[in-house]
C-alpha cells in the first residue's frame, strides 16, 4: 500500500460540516406540520399524586393535546431493564425502572407528570402553567445511610426497603491476609461524580407517516439500534417500520445511552396519535433533572499490607446512590468494585456493595462510569499506607504493579460485561517511569523546598489506573465501493464527537487503497446499518473498528479476485492503491475500483454460483471480553493556602491503549477526559438539600471547567497490543477522566503539608470552600 494512514494524525472528515454550520443536530430539524412538546415535571422529590387537571391548558389557543399517565392506557409500562444484573452468586436485585409519566407517585424532582403538545414550544411552555396539580408531599430519601435505616420513607413501597441491589464479590481470603498483615490501613471515603453536561442537551423528534406506515425517530442517543428495537416492540410495529437516526450529537459521555427516557417513549406514541411530527428539545434546566446523573458512593475500605508495602488484601464495603430507578442494573457499582483493583497485585479481595434507591434522579454511567470511585479508594489507601510505612508513594505503587509476565491476569471476579475480570495484556512499570520522568519527580522535592522559601505552596501527585474498555457483545460494519470509486462505510453505533467519520475511514482506506477523504462513513442510522449495540464503555473504535477492518478486508479480496479474472493473472501480481487495482510493475494496466464495483453488479450474463453482487461486505466483530488499557497521570500544582486557589503547573498523562489508529484524535479524547476529571476533582458537585431539591441546577452554579481552568497537558504513550482483536487496539474514551480525584487529593495534601497537620483528604470534589472547611481547625 502506498500511503498508509493507519496510525497517522489524519485530519477529520467530519470537520467541514461542523465548522461551517452545516451539520445536522437534532434541533435543526424542521418538518412540515411539526408540533412541539413540553413537560410538566414534579417540583418535589417525593409525593403522592392526588390530582392532575389539564382542562385549562387545553383551552389555550395553539395547544393541541395534553396527556397524563392514565391517558396512555396499556402503553404505560415501566421501561425495560437495560443491563440485567450479572451472574454473581447471592446477588440481590430489585428491578424498578422508570415510567413514561408518573402515575401514583413522583419519585424525584423532574419526573414528568404531563406532556403538552402545541403549535410552538413557547405555547407548550405557557400551557404548563395552566395545569392544576395536587400533590401530597412525602419525606424524601436523600441520604443513603438514613435511607437504609429503620423507619425511612420508601422510594418504592413494594420493595420493603430502599435496597436496590446487594452484591458481594471475593477473591482469595481477606481475613487470612489481614491476620498476617503488618499494617492495616482503614478509612471512610466519599466520592461524588457529577452530571455529564454535554453542551447539547437531549432531544427527540418523532414522525409517524400514516401512508407509508413508517415511523422515523431522530434521537440524541448513543444506541440507535436498541432504541429502534425497543420502540418497535412498544408501539406494536415491526422493526422494519421504525427508523432511528442519531444525527450529529453534541457530546454524550454516557447519559445519552440511557433508555428509554420518558420523552423517547412518549413522542413516537403521540406522533402516531396525532399523525403529526413532534419535536422535544430538553432545555438546560430540565437537563439537570431529566437526564441521568452519576453521583456518590461511601466506601468503608481497608488494606492489609506487609511492612515492605506489599498489598496482601483489600476489604471494601460501600454504598452506591442509584437514584429513583435502576434501569441500568449494576454497571456503575460493578465498575467501581472491579476497577478498584487497578494495575496492582491484590491477592485477596472482599468487596460488598449496596445500591440504594433515593428520591434523586436516576444514576447511570457517565464517562468513567464508577471507575473513578474505585480508583480513588485504591489510590488513597496506597497514599496513606506509603505514609505510615515511610515509603515513597510512587515506590509503593511500583512494588505492587502486576509484572509484565503475569498476563493475561485473572482477577477472579465478574466484570460489567458478565465475564471474569481478566486483564488481556499490559506492561505497567514503563508507564510509571515515563510519567515520573516527564513530571520531573526526582527534581521536584528540591523545587518544592525552594518555592516554599518564597512562600509558594507546590505539591505533586501521581496516580495509576486501569480501564476496562472495548467490551462486547459486538458491532458490525458494511463496506461498499460505489461506482464513482468512493467507499461507503456504515456501522450501527452512534457518534458524539469521537472522530468515527475519520478513524473508520482510515481503516477502510488502508485496506482499499483509497484516500481517507474518499471514504464516507455513516453512523447511527438504523436504515443504513441494521444491527449494533452502541457507543459506550470506550468501545466504538475497538469493536466497530475491527468490524470495519474485517469487512474492508473482504471487499479488498473481492476486488483483487475480480481484477485477477479481468487481467487473467494471479491475485498476487496485483496491487490496490490510489483507487485502482493494477498489475505490479505495469501501472498503466489498471482498473478503477468504481469500475470493478459496476462489474460486480452486471446487467446481463450469468454470475458464477455463490457470488454475491456488489463490491461490498458486511462483517461483525465481537470480542470475547473487554481489553484493559492503563495509564498514569502526574501533576504539579500550586495552591494558595488561604484562598485555596488552584494553579496546575504541569499535567502529564502516560497511557497505553494498544495500537493507536489516529494519535491526534486519541490526544483529543484524553484532553477532554482530563478536563472532565479536573471538573470532577475540583468543581462539579450536584448539591441537594434534604428535600431532594437540586440547589445548583444551572451552568452558572454548577461549574464546568473553562479554558482558564484546564492546563496544557503533556501526553505520552506506550503500546501493548491487545490480543483480543486483530488490530490490537484498546479503548481510550474514558482514560483521561478517571484518576483526577486521587491525583488532586494527593497533590493538595502535599502542597498544603496536610500530613503534618493531620488532615486527610478522603473525598472528592475538593472545592476551595470545602478545603477551607476541612482545614480550618487544623494545625498550621
Amino acid at each position: 500500500m502506498s500511503t498508509r494512514t493507519f496510525g497517522e494524525p489524519i485530519k477529520r472528515n467530519e470537520d467541514h460540516r461542523l465548522l461551517t454550520g452545516q451539520a445536522l443536530f437534532i434541533d435543526d430539524l424542521e418538518l412540515p406540520g411539526m408540533l412541539h412538546a413540553a413537560f410538566l415535571r414534579s417540583q418535589v422529590a417525593h409525593a403522592r399524586i392526588l390530582k392532575i387537571d389539564v382542562f385549562k391548558a387545553l383551552q389555550r389557543p395553539g395547544v393541541v393535546a395534553a396527556y397524563v399517565a392514565g391517558d396512555l392506557g396499556d402503553y404505560w409500562q415501566p421501561g425495560p431493564i437495560l443491563v440485567p444484573p450479572p451472574p454473581i452468586e447471592g446477588i440481590i436485585f430489585h428491578e424498578r425502572t422508570q415510567v413514561p409519566l408518573a402515575k401514583d407517585k413522583a419519585r424525584h424532582v423532574g419526573e414528568p407528570l404531563v406532556i403538552v403538545i402545541a403549535e410552538s414550544r413557547y405555547i407548550a411552555e405557557d400551557a404548563l402553567d395552566d395545569i392544576d396539580v395536587e400533590l401530597e408531599q412525602l419525606a424524601a430519601v436523600v441520604d443513603m445511610e438514613k435511607g437504609l435505616g429503620a423507619g425511612s420513607a420508601l422510594v418504592h413501597d413494594d420493595v420493603g426497603s430502599n435496597v436496590s441491589a446487594y452484591v458481594r464479590q471475593t477473591k482469595g481470603n481477606y481475613a487470612a491476609a489481614a491476620a498476617k498483615a503488618d499494617r492495616i490501613i482503614k478509612r471512610r471515603f466519599r466520592y461524588e461524580h457529577g452530571i455529564s453536561s454535554p453542551i447539547e442537551t437531549r432531544g427527540v423528534v418523532a414522525q409517524w407517516d400514516r401512508r407509508a406506515n413508517q415511523m422515523t425517530i431522530w434521537d440524541t442517543t448513543q444506541a440507535p439500534v436498541f432504541v429502534r428495537n425497543g420502540l418497535a416492540g412498544m408501539l406494536g410495529l415491526n422493526e422494519r417500520q421504525v427508523r432511528v437516526i442519531a444525527p450529529f450529537v453534541g457530546g454524550g459521555f454516557g447519559p445519552k445511552i440511557m433508555m428509554f427516557y420518558p420523552e423517547e417513549v412518549l413522542l413516537p406514541w403521540v406522533s402516531m396519535k396525532l399523525n403529526r411530527p413532534i419535536k422535544w428539545i430538553e432545555d438546560r434546566h430540565e437537563h439537570f433533572f431529566a437526564t441521568t446523573h452519576e453521583r456518590g458512593q461511601i466506601h468503608d475500605a481497608e488494606m492489609a499490607l506487609s511492612s515492605d508495602g506489599r498489598i496482601l488484601g483489600i476489604k471494601d464495603v460501600f454504598l452506591h446512590d442509584g437514584g429513583a430507578f435502576d434501569p441500568y442494573g449494576l454497571t456503575v457499582p460493578i465498575n467501581s468494585q472491579c476497577t478498584l483493583l487497578g494495575p496492582y497485585v491484590v491477592p485477596a479481595y472482599d468487596s460488598t456493595f449496596t445500591q440504594v434507591f433515593t428520591n434523586l434522579p436516576t444514576v447511570t454511567p457517565y464517562r468513567g462510569a464508577g471507575r473513578q470511585h474505585g480508583v480513588f479508594v485504591m489510590e488513597r489507601l496506597l497514599d496513606f499506607a506509603a505514609h505510615e510505612l515511610n515509603i515513597d508513594p510512587t515506590e509503593i505503587r511500583r512494588r505492587n504493579l502486576i509484572p509484565p509476565d503475569a498476563f493475561p491476569y485473572n482477577n477472579e471476579i465478574i466484570y460489567q460485561d458478565f465475564e471474569v475480570l481478566e486483564y488481556d495484556s499490559g506492561n505497567y512499570e514503563p508507564v510509571l517511569d515515563i510519567a515520573l520522568d516527564a513530571i520531573g519527580y526526582e527534581a521536584f522535592r528540591h523545587e518544592q523546598a525552594l518555592a516554599r522559601q518564597q512562600g509558594r505552596h507546590l505539591g505533586v501527585g501521581v496516580a495509576c489506573y486501569v480501564e476496562g474498555t472495548g467490551i462486547g457483545p459486538y458491532e458490525g460494519a458494511k463496506v461498499q465501493v460505489q461506482s464513482n470509486g468512493k467507499v461507503s462505510v456504515a456501522t450501527g453505533i452512534g457518534t458524539q464527537g469521537q472522530g468515527h467519520f475519520t478513524v473508520f475511514a482510515q481503516i477502510a482506506a488502508d485496506q482499499l487503497g483509497v484516500a481517507v477523504t474518499d471514504v464516507d462513513v455513516v453512523t447511527g442510522d438504523t436504515d443504513q446499518f441494521y444491527w449494533g449495540a452502541g457507543t459506550f464503555a470506550s468501545r466504538g473504535a475497538v469493536v466497530a473498528g475491527n468490524a470495519v477492518n474485517e469487512a474492508a478486508k473482504v471487499v479488498r479480496n473481492k476486488a483483487l479476485k475480480l481484477a485477477s479474472d479481468l487481467f487473467e493473472c494471479s491475485e498476487a501480481d496485483l496491487v490496490i492503491e490510489d483507487g485502482k487495482v493494477s498489475i505490479v510493475g505495469i501501472p498503466q494496466k489498471f482498473v478503477k475500483l468504481g469500475d470493478l464495483a459496476n462489474q460486480a453488479n452486471p446487467m446481463r450474463g450469468a454470475v458464477e454460483p455463490g457470488t454475491e453482487p456488489g463490491l461490498e461486505s458486511t462483517r461483525y466483530f465481537g470480542p470475547k471480553m473487554g481489553a484493559t488499557a492503563n495509564g498514569v497521570h502526574a501533576i504539579i500544582i500550586e495552591m494558595d493556602p488561604k484562598t485555596f486557589e488552584l494553579k496546575i503547573l504541569k499535567y502529564v498523562v502516560v497511557h497505553d491503549c494498544g495500537t493507536v489508529i489516529n494519535p491526534m484524535i486519541l490526544a483529543g479524547q484524553i484532553h477532554g477526559g482530563v478536563a472532565q476529571g479536573i471538573g470532577n476533582a475540583f468543581y462539579e458537585k450536584l448539591v441537594f438539600d434534604d428535600q431532594g431539591q437540586l440547589l445548583n441546577a444551572s451552568l452558572a452554579d454548577y461549574l464546568l471547567p473553562t479554558a482558564l481552568d484546564v492546563p496544557r497537558m503533556e501526553l505520552a504513550h506506550t503500546v501493548t497490543k491487545s490480543p483480543l482483536n486483530p488490530m490490537g487496539i484498546k479503548g481510550a474514551g474514558e482514560a483521561g477522566a478517571i484518576p483526577g480525584g486521587p491525583l488532586f487529593a494527593q497533590a493538595i495534601e502535599d502542597a498544603l503539608d496536610l500530613k503534618r497537620r493531620s488532615v486527610e483528604l478522603l473525598e472528592t470534589p475538593l472545592s476551595p470552600s470545602r478545603l477551607f472547611e476541612l482545614t480550618r481547625n487544623a494545625r498550621t
Partner: protein, 160 residues
C-alpha cells in the same frame, strides 16, 4: 397573555430579512428557526455556555440573551457567513481543522464567532489572553488545548 407582533428588518451575513415576529421571541430562536440558520447553537439559554454567540454589528453577543426585536435594524454575522463566497475557510476555521479544535462541534460556532471578533481586536495574543477570551465559551469535549493552539496559529497566519 396578549401576543404582540413587531415588524423587523435586519441583515444576517449580508442578506437582508424582513419578518413579523412575536415580541418575546429569542434572537437565537429567530435565527435558528425563522431564518433557518441553524449553525448557531443553543446550549443553555441562560447566557453561560457561549454556544449561541453571534456578532451584532461586529461585536460578539449571546443570541439567547436578546430578543429578536432588539436586533431590528442591526447587522448580524453567524457561522454560516464565516467562510468566503468561494467556500474557502476563514483562517480560524482552517486552524481549528488542522489542530483538531473540535470534537462534537456543538460549541464550535460560538467559539468561532467569539474568537474571530477577538482576533480583530488583538492580532497577536498571548496564550493567556487567548484563554481569557475563550473563558466565556464552554466546551465539554476538547479540554480547550487544541482550540488554544488553533487560535494562536490562526493569529499567526492572519498576521501573515
Amino acid at each position: 397573555m396578549d401576543i404582540d407582533f413587531h415588524d423587523i428588518t435586519l441583515s444576517v451575513n449580508g442578506t437582508k430579512y424582513q419578518r413579523r415576529i412575536e415580541s418575546r421571541l429569542l434572537l437565537s430562536d429567530f435565527i435558528r428557526h425563522d431564518l433557518a440558520l441553524a449553525g448557531t447553537h443553543v446550549g443553555c439559554e441562560h447566557g453561560v455556555c457561549g454556544a449561541c454567540t453571534i456578532l451584532l454589528d461586529g461585536q460578539p453577543v449571546r443570541s439567547c440573551l436578546m430578543l429578536a426585536v432588539q436586533a431590528n435594524h442591526h447587522e448580524l454575522s453567524t457561522v454560516e457567513g464565516l467562510a468566503d463566497k468561494a467556500g474557502e475557510y476563514h483562517p480560524l476555521q482552517q486552524a481549528m481543522h488542522e489542530h483538531h479544535g473540535l470534537q462534537c462541534g456543538y460549541c464550535t460556532p460560538g467559539i468561532l464567532m467569539t474568537i474571530t471578533a477577538f482576533l480583530d481586536e488583538n492580532s497577536s495574543p498571548s496564550e493567556d489572553e487567548v484563554r481569557e477570551a475563550l473563558s466565556g465559551n464552554l466546551c465539554r469535549c476538547t479540554g480547550y488545548q487544541n482550540i488554544v493552539d488553533a487560535v494562536l496559529a490562526a493569529a499567526d497566519r492572519m498576521r501573515g
